[in-house]
């Protein structure tokens, strides 16, 4: 049994504009010591799906199941959830400045966390543990800095303090939501290095949420790509980067500037915009932007099914299972299948997408 098993999670928010279907059926699991990367653009539902697990999405309609060591997080009482939050599952947020209370000393905030879950710990003991934690995450002179306020810390140090706090009770699972997005490149390298090392030492499971495919390439064992509230592809790291099946994953990888090539190649962006979650497109959610759109994509939603026969590689796309990777053969197969699959409405749409690709600044083929 995995540490955390999430099955068919659905989250929606009633708003005055209509029901926002932020997460529309997500299934995944994480094992001890393992890292799951969740990638997606803004509005793909990647943050909402994990915040819901910890009861942080007040006012949302939630359905599905999230078994953490045999207990369902979604049906737990708030008291039970409070005992798990921080102690067994902890969270690291994107912006450490707004996640830390500006009027309390950093050390006090770590001590509060320890004492809230372990009432028998004395103040002096908690303080000592806070100092040790700050030392472990590489804060210089921890016995002095423990009495600093958050504004006296730099961005990188604040994120280290957040990590110290997340680790303070040795949780079994850490959810890191864009932990390095607000940081500079060299500081990002420091923080990723720290997280990787601590995870190895403590055998913690990690869910890493990010929009940056580069960060995931460094850390994740498995990667789940989300689009419009649904997982569209799920695979181990190397399969996802070298043998992507879903056109969205392929598009994401192609739109990043190549960091190794010497020639300046033209970038190939995905045309169009991410969809609205109030009124998501029918059929496959990606079909209005997909270069391989077929008739059935407009009406039938592809299930997350096996791709390429590789163990565990799953993709939600109607293209043939073996149309994986960036090679010309796979591309030929994709083109041919798409061409054959367009008899009706998809023909016009495909033309529109091809024309949109000719818009200034988009793809020119």
């Amino acid at each position: 049994m995995s540490l955390l098993e999430v099955t068919d999670l659905r989250v929606s928010f009633p708003t005055s504009d209509g029901l926002v279907q932020a997460v529309r059926g997500v299934t995944f699991s994480v094992d001890r010591g393992q890292t799951l990367g969740i990638v997606g653009e803004s509005g793909s539902g990647k943050s909402v799906s994990t915040q819901t697990l910890l009861g942080l999405t007040a006012g949302a309609d939630v359905s599905g199941q999230a078994m953490f060591e045999g207990r369902d997080l979604l049906t737990m009482s708030s008291d039970e959830l409070r005992r798990i939050r921080g102690a067994e599952i902890s969270m690291i947020f994107q912006d450490p400045l707004s996640a830390l209370h500006p009027l309390y000393r950093v050390g006090w905030q770590i001590m509060e966390m320890i004492r809230a879950h372990e009432p028998s710990v004395t103040k002096a003991q908690a303080r000592k543990r806070a100092v040790d934690l700050l030392k472990m995450v590489g804060i210089p002179q921890p016995d002095r800095r423990v009495d600093d306020f958050p504004h006296q810390f730099s961005g990188g140090m604040r994120q280290r303090a957040m990590i110290a706090m997340a680790l303070s009770l040795q949780p079994k699972l850490i959810v890191a939501d864009e932990p390095t997005t607000a940081l500079d490149a060299t500081v990002q390298a420091q923080i990723l290095d720290l997280m990787l090392r601590l995870q190895r030492e403590l055998d913690t499971a990690l869910i890493m949420i990010t929009h940056d495919l580069g960060v995931i390439a460094d850390l994740a064992d498995d990667v789940m790509v989300m689009y419009a509230g649904k997982p569209v592809e799920h695979a181990d790291r190397n399969t996802l980067y070298y043998q992507p099946h879903h056109p969205y994953t392929k598009g994401l990888l192609e739109s990043i500037p190549n960091s190794t090539g010497t020639e300046r190649e033209r970038l190939r962006p995905i045309t169009g915009q991410p969809p609205s979650l109030i009124n998501p497109p029918g059929g496959c959610p990606f079909h209005p932007r997909c270069a391989y759109v077929m008739d059935r994509c407009l009406t039938e939603t592809p299930p997350l099914g096996p791709a390429a026969g590789d163990h565990g590689h799953q993709s939600a796309c109607w293209l043939p299972e073996d149309a994986v990777g960036m090679g010309t053969e796979a591309e030929e197969l994709r083109r041919r299948t798409a061409e054959e699959g367009r008899v009706g409405a998809a023909r016009i749409l495909a033309e529109e997408i091809a024309n949109a690709a000719d818009v200034k600044g988009a793809v020119t083929s």
Binding site: S154, T186, L196, D218, S255, N258, S259
Partner: protein, 363 residues
Amino acid sequence: MTDTAMTDAGAARQDDDVLVRLDNVVKHFPIKQGIVFKHEVARVHAVDGVSLEVRRGETLGLVGETGCGKSTLARCITGLHPVTSGRITFDGQDITNLPRARMRPFRRDIQMIFQDPYGSLNPRRRVGSIIGDPFAIHGVADGPERKRKVQELMELVGLKPEHFNRFPAEFSGGQRQRIGVARALALRPKLIVCDEPVSALDVSIQAQIINLLEDLQDELGLTYVFIAHDLSVVRHVSDRVAVMYLGKVAEVAEAPDLYGSPRHPYTNALLSAGSVADPELSERRERIILVGDVPSPIDPPKGCRFHPRCPKAEDRCAVEEPVLEPRLNDPAGHDAACHFPVAAGERLGQKLGAVEPSSGPTS
């Protein structure tokens, strides 16, 4: 450009290849204290002696981390900040700290694209009037002619001209950035300073805007100063790249030279820190994990500003400031400010996750 400015330009033009020249540009921000008698207690050394050239038709990439002075430098070039000392020449003419009225003709030639497509467009004004602003300010076109020009611009940047009467809120982030680009292009500038133009956008949209900027450069012969913290984006767009650290240029070179044989240890660290979307490469390569944080620009370190964090620092670095010049038989134009430049094949890094927790000396 006005007639007088035009003749001036003709007379003063010496070096036709260089559009902008920065000579030892310094920008300090004073920190003041006191209620009645304000006195200066310290200075933020935002830009501290930068000399650079921007050549006609090229893209100069400017990279560096938060607080290195790259945005301040950009604002000095566009005339949004008066400089403390030094000289800025544009198209052969000295534009350092010109009074408002005399700066105005140059503002047509130097435009800017901002980072935040949400904050840089007035939400209460229609897109047509936002893009038409430059025409109004400079009294170029009126009435139906202005509308026609605005619609041409909208088409040029890939927006639908019939969306003329919409509000910014009706556009997505990428489309808003296109509006910002259209506004910058209105007066056919020679130089556009792009301050992190894609960092607020989603990955799939970033590529659209980068392609747009490249197309426009080819079509209109624009010169760009392109500021970004994403090294792979800068590598993709730039002909030459300047790396800044604490208000100074650490290294400047043609993009392939800079990425191929970085000389300054900071450039090496920055390049090794950038993440790549390629797991096998990412596992193989070594990182230089720097110790500590960037020191405060209020009291920058003596000697080489990078020495407290530099893996190669020696005693000399703490006292003697290195000059920005070619090192180790580098071609002219590849300058590094380092006493101990990094040679090819030199190892400074480790594999990710292999380093002991840093307990560095800096705060």
